[in-house]
């Protein structure tokens, strides 16, 4: 076990991993669920976040056998269930939206799964409406879990969608509601794995430069799709310009006023370089804010670079997560 260095920052932040990170290997069946948990334990990412719809065949049916195996894996590899990720299929039916009652029932199903898996935090996907959070909160409280709305790019705490959620959280004061910020909301420079993929897909280098430079200068990205169009760009260029409007950057200190609502962090990343830094997301600016704010949950790795490199490179999600945790260990002042 690691300890806090005497000279290092004092905190209670723990390290974990979302199995989202290993989606490439799980999709191709080169890693199994036990492999994921073993690797997490080896890396010291001891808090496990699972996406039931990814890892549980037959979801939402959860067999006693799966649950027994799950806790067996936790024991074997020294890991702990920390979070589950729920989805809300409002468009389950082709011809109508799910009713409010149906949406709340869907959330309750996922609460039951989280409870059986021993996870206390549930990622409510960004499209979960405030009234569904409010309607499901009493059941979550009764079951001893927290529904944490994902704050995913391009959303932030002053966005009307998040403000509506804040209103519910503050008005009800429910201990069962909160946020799960995705660090993809702190993309300081344009991920090069994304721009390099666009080039491989045939994007025009001058337009890629314009898009990346506009983003990196924290310029006005809103008009980029139009500008790229005026300059004769094509679909790949438009796609990259759209991505520039979907990444966002703001000072991570913006989390501080909401820290009592933040129960878990999805530590999104696109590329850990061999030098041990995330190319686009400055964790050396983020982690000190979490320490200052007294965050006492898990930094949960969420590797999302695979989709940008799979066309040309071998994906090695395990190595990427390993590098991110080496960085976290350093930023958290751990000594081994």
């Amino acid at each position: 076990m690691s300890t806090i260095d005497e000279d290092g920052p004092k905190h209670t932040i723990k390290r974990g991993v979302s199995l989202y990170s290993f989606q490439h290997e799980c999709f191709l069946r080169t890693m199994t669920l036990p492999d994921c948990i073993r690797v997490a334990g080896e890396i010291g990412a001891r808090g496990i976040e699972i996406i039931p719809e990814q890892s549980i065949v037959g979801y939402p049916r959860l067999t006693d056998e799966f649950v027994a195996d799950w806790f067996g894996l936790m024991d074997r590899y020294g890991t702990t269930p920390v979070a589950t990720d729920l989805f809300l299929d409002t468009k389950l039916h082709p011809d109508r939206w799910l009713t409010l009652d149906e949406q709340i029932a869907s959330v309750r199903t996922d609460i039951d799964i989280a409870v059986r898996l021993g996870a206390r935090n549930i990622r409510a996907i960004i499209n979960t409406p405030p009234e569904v959070m409010e309607g499901a909160a009493p059941y979550a409280q009764e079951q001893g879990v927290r529904l944490l709305l994902e704050v995913h790019a391009p959303f932030h705490y002053a966005h009307p969608w998040i403000v509506q959620h804040l209103e519910v959280m503050h008005r009800t004061g429910s201990p069962a509601l909160g946020f799960m910020p995705d660090m993809g909301t702190y993309v300081k420079r344009f991920p090069r794995v994304v721009s390099e993929r666009a080039l491989r897909d045939g994007a025009r280098p001058d337009l890629v430069d314009l898009i990346v430079k506009t983003y990196d200068d924290h310029g006005d990205t809103h008009g980029l799709m139009d500008t790229v169009h005026y300059k004769g760009g094509g679909p790949v260029d438009f796609g990259l310009a759209r991505q520039a409007t979907h990444f966002i950057w703001s000072d991570p200190r913006g989390m501080l006023p909401h820290m009592d609502l933040i129960g878990h962090i999805q530590a999104k990343f696109y590329e850990m370089t061999p030098e041990g830094i995330e190319y686009s997301i400055p964790y050396d600016e983020i982690v000190p804010v979490l320490i200052e704010g007294g965050f006492d949950g898990y930094l949960s790795s969420e590797y999302e670079g695979n989709r940008h490199i799979e066309d040309a490179f071998e994906v090695d999600s395990v190595e990427q997560v390993r590098r991110q945790h080496a960085m976290f260990g350093r930023l958290l002042g751990e000594t081994n």
Binding site: F27, R29, N306, R307, E310
Partner: protein, 136 residues
């Protein structure tokens, strides 16, 4: 994501019911499983010729559905990375040898404003039942 893995390598084979056509295995370009009512289309174009959806059917873990049925299937899923069988019928028998198999998957993902999915094209070699068991 996962587009290049939609069409499974070496997965084209003949039908086992004696009708003209074939079976190809496909995976969903998504990082979780999805209820079948949200699988809007798995369109096949064989050697440049689109095969109408009504001449195909879809099998996951042994359960077979027509594409007319899928919108109302609420109790079954296409699991992440699961090779599904897309069975198709053609006018003429598909000859042994190489064929270009193009698949376009369209999914209804609730948090996305427009349909999601992906495309893949691969050249697959048809293995006929004759090749497999030598009895026909």
């Amino acid at each position: 994501m996962f587009d290049k893995y939609i069409v499974c390598d070496d997965s084209l084979r003949g039908r086992t019911d004696g009708r003209p056509g074939g079976v190809v295995q496909v995976r969903m370009p998504y990082y979780r499983g999805l209820g079948l009512s949200m699988v809007e289309a798995v369109d096949l174009t064989l050697d440049g010729t689109p095969i109408p959806a009504e001449r195909t059917n879809f099998t996951v873990h042994g359960n077979t559905y027509t594409f007319a049925e899928l919108p109302s299937v609420f109790d079954d899923r296409w699991e992440m990375g699961e090779p599904a069988d897309l069975t198709f019928e053609t006018d003429q028998p598909v000859e042994a040898g190489d064929h270009q198999v193009a698949i376009a998957v369209r999914l209804r993902i609730s948090y996305m404003p427009v349909p999601s999915g992906g495309r893949d094209v691969k050249t697959l070699s048809l293995t006929t039942p004759t090749d497999l068991d030598g009895t026909r």
